[in-house]
Amino acid sequence: MSQELARSGRVVITGLGAVTPLGIGVEKFWQNCLNGVSGVHQISLIDPEPFPTKIAAEVLDFQAEDWLDRKDARRVDRAIAMTVAAARLALDDSTIQLTDELKDDFGVFIGSGIGGLNVMHEQTRIMYERGPSKVSPFWVPYMIANMPGGIVSILNDLRGPNVAAVTACSTGANSIGDAYHVIKRGDATMMLAGGVEAPINDIGVAAFCAARAMSTRNDEPQRASRPFDLDRDGFVMGEAAGVMVLEAYEHAIARGAKIYAEIVGYGMTADAYHITGVHPEGRGARNAMLRALDRAGVTPDKVDYINAHGTSTPIGDPAETLAIKGAFGDHAHKVAISSTKSMTGHTLGAAGAIESMVCALAIRDQKVPPTINYETPDPACDLDYVPNVMRELPIEYALNNSFGFGGHNVSLLLKRV
């Protein structure tokens, strides 16, 4: 790697790319977050009629042709197309000039909870309807969950480390945390990091309905995702891609880059408890938060904002509440907590990425986005969830929580620079 600058191991966020149900482009996404806009609607990508859940948070204005040439746009999985867009937006936002030397030292860690589920579903249907000889040769490359990051590296000629985390709903946070470690230990100067999910198709909706995990508040889509509210009845599926540019601090300073925030702590644990259920006391989640704080050498009372995993499920939200109390003690009642899934829905593999962006933007603007649809307090969820209206707040440290099926727990701690 280029050694012209002594490196401290500090890593900063210098570009954000968001393709979300609240808008394409980070400023539109962020303004809608602050304004408490819901991105949930009746499903339009498929006919929702056969499913118990008929609502989702879709990226309504996304067109693959806007981001890829016609041939690729026609056949790549929607997850790949959305990732290409998010990566483009993040690179543009960072204003980085890619040199040949830098490209060797610029990696990509972008994961997906599932991968190319649309291609997988469509080609499986073709195999049963028309026979194995009609299965596309592109099934393998467009289905595998590492291909979004693979294609981003190809299109942008980024030749550094390239790995895709697959940790369900903590994928995006793992990707960012792992990329942070890559730069911290000197294996790259810059990284694109994030996650993607495009699960809204027949099998995706059917499968999550079968898991009994989703809200069925079909007649009130915009009120369906209601984390920590007493009347929550499950999560709302969403689709998104979130990619951020991470950069060695000295490199960012030397080129005069705009810096959103610094990543200072990355905690990872496993529940070791159940395939889909969270540990009832939030054991793994608590320890992930404590590890992130410990790695940063930061005491819990210094944290001003937590972007909760907060999916709006009956069991998950109280467990996270207990986990926050376990990690933060008395400060748990003072820290501002919000779940932006109340607006974006649960974007699965992208969630940790777009919610880390929320933390970075909250630090930049010193504003906390709200938890919308918070109407009736639940005695089991008794912390300050910043109900319904955004709040101006001095924020030095912000923490993002992401938890995934399989018992994966990730906490990322961001600091104002």
Binding site: R70, K71, R74, S136, P137, P141
Partner: protein
Amino acid sequence: MSEDILSRVRKVTVEELSVKEEEVLETSSFQDDLGADSLDVVELVMALEDEFGIEIPDDEVGEIKTVGAAVEYIEKKLPK
């Protein structure tokens, strides 16, 4: 050479490889001139099978290197 078959092969090629119609000449090589890679060729062959209602065995795909060769191959395969 059948003009009807040629125009249908050109149409399928334009659709599958996302190239401009005027680029697709009888002499055009799918891989050398029209930018197809090996996976594109597999998909193109599948589309030609659908268009003409024929089966193209894997060991005969090698005969179909250009637009003109595809037309000739399809003429042989179609019921007279």
